[in-house]
């Protein structure tokens, strides 16, 4: 006699089980990598065993040796210390980019979907114009205006990513706006601002979070590229992108470890974030059904 009631009670437990199983080893590993990276970003400078900015040219390009697990870089600084200390800017930069581009992008998307007509046309064509500028070009422009450094690079990338966010979320906002419950709120006399902030955006949240995680990966790679070009974080500050840039000559000279270790950190975090983002998105879609 398995009626509707017991299955209804068991359903959530079953869901939780399958979601853990679906996450699997890859998902758990991704979560661990991300947690470790976040921890390092916060406490990295305290964890670093040696001064990450103190050069000692006599030690340049020396491989792993007693107490220095990853050896020394081009200027003879401890690679592990620079990796740990560099996590801060390498993680913070993408975080700022994601927050700024997601917030502005969602607001524009919701305004476009709510006002429709002329406002939507203006916002959409404005976004089309922004699409035309590659992120790196914007970064060069921002450097010219604000001077080289992480803030300029972050502003430029936020501006470059915002149209992508707005484009995707605008579709979702349109879908949500045409839900009957929105009409019901309107006839209740709820204001547009309150409907948008209290109903539309919260209901779009799974998509927004998924977008954010995907963008985080892109932002990390792009910021590293900008730092590599010398427009982002300025040496001698440690940063994973800067480390690749400084130690690139080592790759051809037979000392690949300093550059590669920073590259591996970037790749690991980007993959971890993307895997988790994809899982989140899948779960949101499954929940929608």
């Amino acid at each position: 006699m398995s009626t509707g009631i017991p299955t209804a009670i068991e359903a959530p437990r079953f869901r939780a089980l399958t979601s853990v199983r679906a996450t699997g080893i890859v998902g758990i590993a991704s979560a661990i990598i991300l947690a470790a990276a976040t921890f390092t970003a916060i406490f990295g400078p305290l964890l670093a065993p040696y001064d990450p900015e103190l050069p000692n040219l006599s030690l340049a390009w020396i491989g792993p040796a007693g107490g220095h697990l990853l050896g020394f870089d081009v200027q003879g600084r401890d690679v592990l210390s620079r990796l740990l200390a560099g996590a801060q800017t390498s993680m913070l930069g993408p975080l700022v980019v994601v927050i700024v581009s997601i917030v502005t992008g969602s607001l524009l998307a919701v305004v476009a979907a709510w006002r429709r007509g002329a406002a939507d046309a203006a916002i959409s064509s404005g976004l089309d114009i922004l699409f035309a500028f590659p992120g790196i070009l914007l970064a060069v422009l921002a450097t010219a205006v604000f001077g080289a450094g992480l803030p300029a690079a972050a502003i430029a990338l936020s501006l470059a990513y915002m149209p992508y966010v707005a484009r995707v979320l605008r579709g979702a906002a349109y879908r949500e706006r045409s839900q009957p419950y929105v009409a019901a709120l309107e006839v209740q006399g709820a204001s547009a601002t309150s409907i948008c902030l209290r109903h539309l955006i919260p209901n779009m949240l799974p998509l927004i979070v998924a977008q954010a995680t995907i963008l985080f990966g892109y932002a990390m790679v792009d910021l590293a590229a900008i730092s590599f070009l010398g427009l982002g974080v300025q040496p001698p500050r440690p940063d994973w992108g800067v480390m690749i840039s400084e130690n690139q000559t080592g790759i051809v000279q037979g000392y690949p470890l300093p550059a590669l270790s920073a590259g591996v950190c970037i790749v690991a975090v980007v993959i971890a974030v993307n895997v988790l983002g994809e899982r989140l998105f899948e779960q949101a879609e499954a929940g929608r059904r």
Partner: protein, 347 residues
């Protein structure tokens, strides 16, 4: 096209006694569908007086819901509206921003499908108190207290607990009662009920209808009640307007509508209803199919192709609404057909 003022006067003899609360005159709506402008309402005129219940009856696509949506300014974007909608003397089509929100607090709407019309991820309490807090500056605890009181009025006794629940935790009938309570919370003067019981079980329908009608009378609310059920409209409405192909074809006291219709379409609707006292071997249907407003011919009566009484005059001009025996009818032969249309055969 009929002169709006004349129709309003026609329709309510001696109306000077009470000024209408809602006055719709010569309302026509064009919607853009696939790039083409198509009419969905044509020359709709009706009035609702304070405390009065007016039924709006018609087949699917006849424009009942569109009329209600036009009144509550919920038409899709790009809708082209002509004619006037006045509420308490105020021109509804000119309202914007805060004025529109205040108006919507006075004109509440109850929808056909309560589940689609609630945000599934917000609690009932949020839904019910949102308008009170945002527009009427009621404090949160006071709004919740009023919500619990109103839930008790619609027969939900454990209101305090219900406020913390989500829409999916309630049955359709209960959710519709919550919607009624939410609609009444802002103390509206007019209720637009768009087939409020159509999506419910038959047993729940009667219960919800009784609650709605009882509270409406208790609060002295006017109501525009949209339904496709002629008998239901007759049971709870003072007057009933019948719509066909985006036009009003008849407005008459509900009590007379069924047995003494003025328009052949109303007669056909009444006759199509199965008689529960006899076994019907074959249900009587109106021949042909219902026309959408945009298909309606501009040179003849829209119902003429399906009308058993149609003659040449019906096919040469669109009849105007004309007053007849205390009601209004849009039929060229209404006067000569008096007494011949009768009620439902056997009824």
């Amino acid at each position: 096209m009929s002169d709006p003022a004349a129709v309003a006067a026609l329709e309510s003899p001696g109306a000077a006694a009470s000024a209408p609360l809602l006055e719709v005159a010569g309302l026509s709506v064009l919607l853009e569908i696939n790039g083409a402008k198509r009419p969905v309402l044509r020359d709709v005129s009706l009035t609702v007086r304070p405390g009065e219940a007016v039924g709006l009856v018609g087949e699917s696509g006849s424009g009942k819901s569109m009329t209600a949506r036009a009144i509550d300014r919920l038409l899709p974007r790009g809708a082209e509206v002509t004619g006037s909608i006045r509420f308490g003397g105020e021109d509804v089509n000119q309202l914007t921003g805060a004025g529109l929100r205040r108006y919507r607090n006075k004109v509440a709407m109850i929808f056909q499908d309560p589940r689609a019309h609630t945000n599934p991820v917000r609690r009932i309490g949020d839904f019910m108190t949102e308008a009170l807090q945002a527009n009427l500056a009621v404090s949160a605890p006071e709004a919740r207290r009023r919500a619990v009181d109103m839930l008790a009025q619609v027969g939900i006794d454990d209101g305090a607990k219900r406020l913390g629940q989500y829409p999916h935790q309630m049955s359709g009938g209960m959710l519709q009662r919550v919607m009624i309570a939410a609609a009444l919370l802002t103390k509206p003067r007019l209720l637009l009920a768009d087939e409020p019981t159509t999506a419910l079980d038959v047993t729940t329908q009667a219960e919800v209808m009784a609650i709605l009608d009882g509270l409406r009378r208790e609060f002295g609310l006017a109501m525009l009640f949209i339904t496709h059920d002629l008998d239901l409209a007759a049971a709870i409405c003072d007057r009933t307007a019948v719509m066909y192909a985006g036009q009003i074809v008849e407005i008459r006291a509900s009590a007379l509508l069924h047995d003494d219709p003025l328009h052949p379409y109303t007669a056909a609707l009444a006759a199509a209803r199965p008689d529960i006292t006899q076994t019907a071997h074959r249900l009587r249907a109106i021949p042909g199919r219902p026309l959408s407003a945009f298909e309606a011919p501009s040179q003849e009566c829209a119902f003429a192709p399906r009308c058993p009484h149609a003659t040449d005059i019906c096919r040469t001009e669109v009849p105007a609404l004309a007053r007849l025996d205390g009601g209004v009818s849009r039929c060229a032969r209404a006067r000569e057909l008096r007494g011949q249309l009768g009620g439902a055969p056997g009824g």
